[in-house]
């Protein structure tokens, strides 16, 4: 008989994402992704100065501050018709690249690894054996038996104190965990190492960002950090970049391969059908032609044909969402008219709209980017993907899966990281030639429409603006998590996460670690982090949607 499981919350922010699944004979047969947090940021932007929109959008999310800032700036760049100088483009790319490096390292180690790595099992590991395995995989520092012993002692302290702290409430000992104790120990050691590294990588933003965490250096028409374009700042950036890339190449990629080797069955679980990528990292003023990661759409997993993207084919459906009406609108004409009823998986069940491209649900994010680039013959992507497939001895079809999604994230981290070196050098060359221009003047038109298409760590991000009398008349955001985690559409087609969950094995409905694996592989981010501290109820997050 079918059984319903509700996983709530999926993210730590209470009430933001709730996944409901139906399980029969040990497998998921149906799934509903419900975002229970209203995010009508659009409403607050109306009537404001278009140049200020980014200051608000970068506050919309607790993680993706820069990307929402940049998306808004690009959208207004487009509306006012300004072409930004080369240096501004390079700096924006470098800041975006730094965002990818940071976010993906944190995702793999701190948001996703514990779905695959059993920390408690690491206590049983033999540190000498662990050291040997680690050295065989990669010549990273801190691979000695003493290093692993020290990590084990630290973990044991947490376990013995009865307070696992960050590792509390994991599904430790669950039969779905397949790593030997030594590999668990290596991964746990690198979890700590990644914690240190991410803190340093985050500093890259402060160099050209004037300020981390909320950058101040973006401006419509370019960037405003001209004063930071000096040899000292650039070499500081280069130094942090080198350090981060050493971690990616010697720790992240080898760990991905080592862990994936034990979970090859996940190469046939958690896949979706269609993929959309807006593309990212413009190499010149010509878009989309010059985008480093190409723009494109793939349907029915057909890698032989990548379609061009026509933004007019994007619609947002609200039939199963808590908004007025049943229509499907293009974001340029989008509406945000909330109307909460009740959570009913047969009716309305999410605050997210359901974005569709040409009527189809589309997965966005690392896997979509890597598949589109791979199918279009993007050399660095082809080389990296073929290398990973060969090392894991899995077929190309295994990319359409939870394993493929997690692997794609690591692959693109390396590809983007390597490309960043070229951008840094271009910047240096420009400055040597005396080209220090970072801003292009423009006139704010009385009325205009603009669109900013970006591909950010979590996927395709679009901002749309309508300007009237030099003020914001309408503003719409279609964010990656809405594409991936949105509900069913007017045609009742499930969203990507809903589709991906179907067929997922669930060994123990009370401890559904398998569901977390697939949901977390999308790197869900439901934005609008709320920070109120509530000592009474022992809950840190408290947020009620009224």
């Amino acid at each position: 008989m079918a059984q319903r499981i509700v996983v709530d919350p999926i993210t730590r922010i209470e009430g933001h994402l709730r996944i409901e699944v139906e399980v029969a004979n040990g497998k998921v047969t149906n799934a509903w992704s419900c975002s229970t947090l209203f995010r009508g940021l659009e409403i607050i932007l109306k009537g404001r100065d278009p140049r200020d929109a980014w200051l608000f959008t970068q506050r919309a999310c607790g993680v993706c501050t820069y990307v929402h800032g940049l998306a808004s700036i690009r959208c207004v760049d487009h509306a006012v018709g300004v072409t930004i100088p080369d240096n501004a483009r390079l700096i924006r790319n470098l800041l975006m690249g730094a965002q990818f490096l940071h976010d993906h390292i944190v995702h793999f180690y701190h948001l996703h690894a514990l779905d695959w790595v059993d920390v408690v099992s690491a206590l049983k590991a033999d540190p000498v054996k662990a050291s040997k395995i680690a050295n065989d995989v990669s010549p990273a520092p801190k691979n000695g038996p003493g290093d692993f012993k020290a990590v084990q002692a630290r973990l044991k302290k947490f376990v013995d104190s009865g307070q696992l702290g960050l590792f509390a409430n994991g599904y430790w000992g669950h039969p779905a965990y397949k790593l030997p104790p030594e590999v668990n120990l290596i991964a746990a050691a690198h979890y700590l190492e990644a914690l240190r590294q991410q803190a340093r990588t985050a500093r890259m933003h402060a160099i050209f960002g004037a300020k981390n965490p909320h950058l101040q250096s973006l401006v419509v028409g370019g960037v405003s950090c001209a004063a930071d374009l000096n040899p000292d700042r650039i070499s500081e950036f280069l130094y942090l970049w080198k350090e981060t890339m050493a971690f990616v190449n010697n720790v992240y990629i080898p760990d991905l391969l080592a862990v994936a080797g034990f979970y090859k069955d996940w190469g046939s679980i958690g896949g979706t059908t269609n993929f959309l990528c807006y593309g990212e990292f413009p190499q010149s003023a010509k878009e989309p032609e010059s985008l480093f990661f190409p723009r494109g759409a793939i349907f029915k997993r057909n890698l032989a044909k990548v379609e061009n993207v026509d933004p007019a084919k994007i619609t947002e459906h609200v039939k199963h969402s808590w908004y007025e009406g049943d229509g499907a609108l293009n974001p340029a004409q989008g509406e945000t008219k909330p109307k909460y009823s009740k959570l009913d998986t047969n009716g309305e069940y999410s605050w997210m709209k359901a974005p569709r491209y040409n009527g189809e649900p589309m997965e966005v994010g690392p896997l979509a980017r890597v598949l589109v680039a791979y199918a279009k013959g993007h050399e660095p992507t082809k080389k990296a993907v073929d290398g990973v497939l060969k090392k894991l001895a899995i077929p190309k079809e295994a990319l359409f899966s939870t394993l493929g999604r997690t692997a794609a994230r690591a692959i693109e981290t390396q590809i983007i990281g390597e490309a960043m070196e070229g951008w840094i050098m271009q910047l240096v060359e420009n400055l040597k030639k005396g080209d220090t221009k970072t801003f292009e003047p423009y006139q704010m038109p009385d009325s205009a429409q603009g669109m900013g298409l970006n591909d950010v760590p979590r996927g395709a991000l679009g901002h749309w603006i309508e300007i009237k009398e030099k003020k914001i008349a309408n503003y719409q955001l279609v964010v990656p998590s809405t594409w991936n985690l949105g509900p069913r559409c007017a045609a009742n087609k499930p969203g990507p996460v809903e589709e991906a969950l179907i067929g997922t094995p669930v060994a123990d409905p009370k401890r559904p670690v398998e569901i977390l694996r697939t949901v977390h592989s999308f790197d869900p981010c439901i934005a609008c982090g709320v920070h109120v501290i509530d000592p009474q109820s022992n809950q840190v997050y408290k947020f009620r949607v009224v």
Binding site: D52, R59, C528, P535
Partner: protein, 185 residues
């Protein structure tokens, strides 16, 4: 002895009315006062792990935040983070971090600073609004005095900037400014 490094960390979401208290107050302090070299002020927004770097570099962290404790809106709260982390049950998912977890990460790294939380009971944290509600706004000055006292106790000092007063700075608007923005060109 070297003075201890003090981080004044304002957290919260400035788009959600009283939720933005911590960030508003940090901007107000930055605009009105000069602090001694061992004091750093940071607008932490709603970020988690990105705050680990500044947190682990500090010896003492003064967090300013909205604190929901079932009291009258406008009530000032002072909580030691040590007490808070014992009471908080960690939830079993692995995404997004809050302050308490970020402190736990700092502990894992062996670099957990001491921490105190100063805040005000919010009236309204529902979307959307960029200013504080009247009962909370009325207590900002008192909270500011508490924060300054806490900085003093921890070994930091400050002086009012020439020609500035907190009220005058307040009128300028902190996070979004008067025109609402940052037009440098």
């Amino acid at each position: 002895m070297k003075p201890q490094r003090i981080l004044v960390l304002g957290v919260g979401n400035v788009l959600l009315k009283d939720e933005g208290l911590g960030v508003h107050l940090v901007h107000r302090l930055q605009a009105s006062y000069e602090f001694s070299d061992n004091v750093e002020l940071l607008d932490g927004g709603t970020l988690g792990l990105r705050l680990l770097d500044p947190i682990t570099q500090a010896d003492h962290v003064i967090v300013i935040d909205a604190v929901q404790n079932g009291a009258e809106p406008g009530t000032i709260h002072k909580i030691s983070a040590e007490v808070l982390s014992k009471k908080v049950a960690f939830k079993n998912s692995i995404h997004q971090l809050d302050l308490v977890e970020t402190l736990a990460y700092a502990e894992v790294l062996g670099r957990r600073p001491t921490c105190v939380i100063l805040g005000i009971e919010p009236l309204d944290i529902a979307p959307w609004g960029t200013s504080l509600t009247p009962p909370v706004a009325a207590k900002v000055e008192a909270l500011e005095a508490l924060v300054l006292e806490e900085i003093h106790q921890a070994g930091g000092s400050w002086a009012l900037k020439a020609g500035e007063s907190p009220e005058a700075c307040e009128a300028k608007g902190y996070v979004f400014g008067d025109s609402g923005g940052n037009h440098r060109h």
